[in-house]
């Protein structure tokens, strides 16, 4: 029943159409797309969790198919085609059984589970990102190039419930261009945070009468491509097209810290909801995990393809939970091999630890003999 895939900590979608699962505890990266069936026009462009338990992953491909990957079974179980509009998927979401897709040309569709008919909604051209409000799943936010932030209630799709207004003209009295690259809803309030291609981070507050941003911070000189809220929602992690990743405080609008080690553009950033951890991936083909407290690079995994998006598990327990022996007996014969493989890997550290004090003693003896 359960495959080792469920213990993976990070799921990464590559431009070559590969879904990769990375287990940081075991330092293993697995491809879940058969290497013979690779096609570049099936490149992953959006990913989201299929259910709150994180047992399913929805993978949106360039060829407009949305595949359902089951982490329990460790393989793709379903695939459906979601045509309409132009350009790649810019956002995927799930709302009580129905699938929400948004493509670059601005066509947002809600696909009910049973019928192939879909409710349509035009959110404006040049969409760069569509995201769902985790607190109110029927709410989605969209933003893009010359397409300012809009928040839609899917139950009343005629008008957006919030439509951002562009900031005032600049000091030369010229219009400031709009280019929202990524957005996220702040939990616990109605605020929305966006990052733009013109290196600004903005906070909008739909509950206030002001439609312009209530806070604007600039960071660096390169387009900001991805953002993610740090645990506690007091700060946000943004990544840029040059590979600069920074943590920005949302209360004062200050730069808190920069994360180092990136060689190329960042395409996906995600923070762990409770632990101080941030995972990021991008064009330099590396998945990196930084600690948010000490800015230290904790893991760096080379994944061979350019990576487009990632999902970090929100599981609290980082270590693999031991499979119950009773459960192990239920496992089918085919998977026995898998289990056997897993056990050998798991038992590796144990003898090491057991042997460690002995090894230490040997060392000490040696030193004693050599020292004088």
């Amino acid at each position: 029943m359960a495959s080792p895939a469920r213990w993976n900590h990070v799921w990464v979608g590559a431009e070559t159409g590969i879904l990769k699962g990375v287990n940081l505890q075991k330092k293993q990266a697995t491809n879940y797309t058969a290497s013979g069936a690779l096609r570049r026009d099936e490149g992953v462009c959006a990913m989201c969790w299929g259910d709150p338990l994180e047992s399913e992953i929805l993978v949106g491909c360039l060829d407009r198919s949305v595949k359902l990957f089951s982490t329990e079974k460790g393989k793709f179980t379903e695939s459906r085609l979601c045509p309409g509009g132009e350009g790649p998927f810019r956002g995927l979401a799930v709302q009580d059984g129905s699938l929400i897709t948004c493509v670059e040309s601005g066509l947002l569709k809600v696909w009910r589970e049973d019928s192939s008919e879909a409710a349509e909604l035009q959110v404006g051209p040049g969409v760069c990102r569509m995201r769902q409000n985790p607190a109110r799943p029927q709410c989605v936010g969209t933003g893009g190039k010359e397409n300012a932030l809009k928040v839609w209630d899917l139950q009343q799709p005629q008008e957006p419930i919030f439509r951002a207004k562009n900031v005032r003209h600049d000091w030369l009295n010229l219009r400031v261009p709009v280019w929202d690259r990524d957005l996220q809803f702040l939990p616990g309030s109605e605020k929305i945070i966006t990052c733009t291609g013109h290196h600004q981070v903005r906070v909008y507050d739909p509950s206030s009468p002001q439609r312009r941003p209530v806070l604007e911070v600039t960071y660096g000189e390169h387009p900001l491509t991805a953002l993610s809220l740090a645990p506690g929602a007091n700060s946000v992690v943004v990544g840029s097209a040059r590979g600069d990743v920074a943590v920005i405080d949302l209360r004062q609008g200050r730069l808190l810290k920069c994360l180092k080690g990136f060689a190329g553009a960042v395409r996906g950033v995600q923070c762990h909801p409770t632990r101080p951890l941030v995972a990021s991936c991008g064009l330099d083909r590396f998945l990196r995990l930084h600690g948010l407290d000490d800015k230290r690079l904790q893991h760096k995994v080379y994944l061979k393809s350019q990576l487009n998006c990632l999902l970090l598990t929100s599981r609290e327990a980082w270590e693999d939970e031991d499979p119950d022996p009773a459960k192990a007996e239920e496992v089918k014969e085919e998977e026995d091999e898998l289990w056997a493989a897993m056990e050998t890997v798991r038992t590796h550290p144990a003898p090491k630890r057991a042997a460690d004090p002995g090894a230490g003693a040997v060392k000490k003896q040696k030193r004693a003999r050599v020292g004088p």
């Binding site: 190329g264 064009l283 061979k304 003693a361």
Partner: protein
């Protein structure tokens, strides 16, 4: 000195502490009285003694060397192979992106990248060479000579045009690559190499440019034949991308009758370009003649897509402060 000995014994007593639990009974061992030049208090004397010590060291070293040489000669053919000297290349920090030729995923990635049409022989390279605005003497001549090296290349005067305006026109005229030579104070110092129609764009620092005129013992002017291309030492994933980019400047099927070779040799992340004519003098001997120009490139960045310095996404960018942490770490 006595103090030192005492300290030593105390230290080793501490180290022995746990060992005693294991049953080994250690003996108290005193260090032999050691002499150190730095303990001499008189500066003049210290200096003198240091010189003597240094001299003695050198003598010993030379004597050792002589001895080893003698031993080798005595052994003759049975002498053990000479140890390989340590260089920063062979002590290179392991790079996990080093390409394994059997890796299916990388093979697939390379088979479908932007250079795939060239390597599948669907496109023929056609190259536009231009410079930064208002080039002066050396850069102009360098461009001319570069275009004699790269077949099917056209040198155009920049006329103050923006690269972003040039690129769509190049694509419309079926150019496959764009080379822009940048100059600073009459010295060519940068090279932008952009693959068309959809990237990537590499930015190199260029140094040590020597034109044909400045090369000693050069051969006669190169001929119109398609040269062979040698790409040396591009091992990592990034190196592969750069190598493919440079390879795609030259047409397939070199004309061996021209006996001309263009070499891109990567060593310590510097790419050395040389252009030679060779001749087989006998079955064993080969003669080469440099034709020029020669220059050295160092990769600054690779951008996805065509040239866009403001909004482009970098595949790789060299960040001095973060990446140059070890002299033994190389990226190509």
């Amino acid at each position: 000195m006595a103090g030192r000995g005492e300290q030593g014994t105390r230290l080793c007593g501490a180290a022995l502490g746990p060992a005693e639990d294991h049953g080994a009974a250690p003996e108290r061992v005193l260090f032999p009285p050691a002499f150190s030049v730095s303990e001499i208090k008189n500066k003049q004397r210290r200096h003198f003694m240091f010189l003597r010590w240094k001299q003695q060291q050198r003598k010993e070293k030379l004597a050792n060397k002589k001895k080893r040489k003698k031993e080798r000669e005595a052994l003759g053919d049975q002498a053990p192979p000479k140890p390989v000297p340590k260089t920063i290349e062979n002590q290179r920090v392991y790079d996990e992106t080093t390409v394994d030729p059997n890796d299916e995923e990388v093979a697939f990635d390379e088979a479908t990248d932007e250079f795939a049409p060239y390597f599948n022989r669907q496109t023929v390279p056609k190259i536009l060479i231009t410079t930064s605005d208002r080039p002066r003497g050396r850069t102009v001549r360098f461009c001319e000579q570069l275009s004699s090296v790269v077949p099917n290349s056209h040198v155009y005067y920049r006329r103050g045009l923006a690269l972003k305006k040039i690129i769509p026109q190049c694509i419309a005229r079926n150019f496959t690559d764009l080379i822009v030579v940048n100059e600073d104070r009459k010295i060519p110092n940068g090279l932008v190499l952009s693959h068309l129609p959809d990237g990537p764009t590499a930015h190199f620092k260029m140094s040590s440019v020597r034109l044909r005129k400045e090369i000693k013992r050069k051969g006669k002017e190169p001929t119109e034949h398609m040269p062979e291309v040698i790409l040396n030492n591009f091992t990592t994933r990034l190196g592969h991308s750069v190598g493919r980019m440079l390879a795609s400047l030259f047409p397939h099927d070199p004309q061996f009758i021209g006996r001309q070779v263009a070499t891109f040799h990567n060593q310590r992340d510097y790419i050395f370009f040389r252009f030679h004519r060779y001749i087989f003098k006998s079955e064993k001997k080969v003669g080469i003649q440099e034709l020029g120009p020669r220059f050295t490139l160092k990769l600054r960045s690779i951008q996805k897509g065509t040239f866009d310095s403001k909004f482009g996404e970098y595949e790789w960018i060299h960040k001095h402060r973060e990446m140059d942490t070890s002299r033994r770490k190389f990226h190509l």
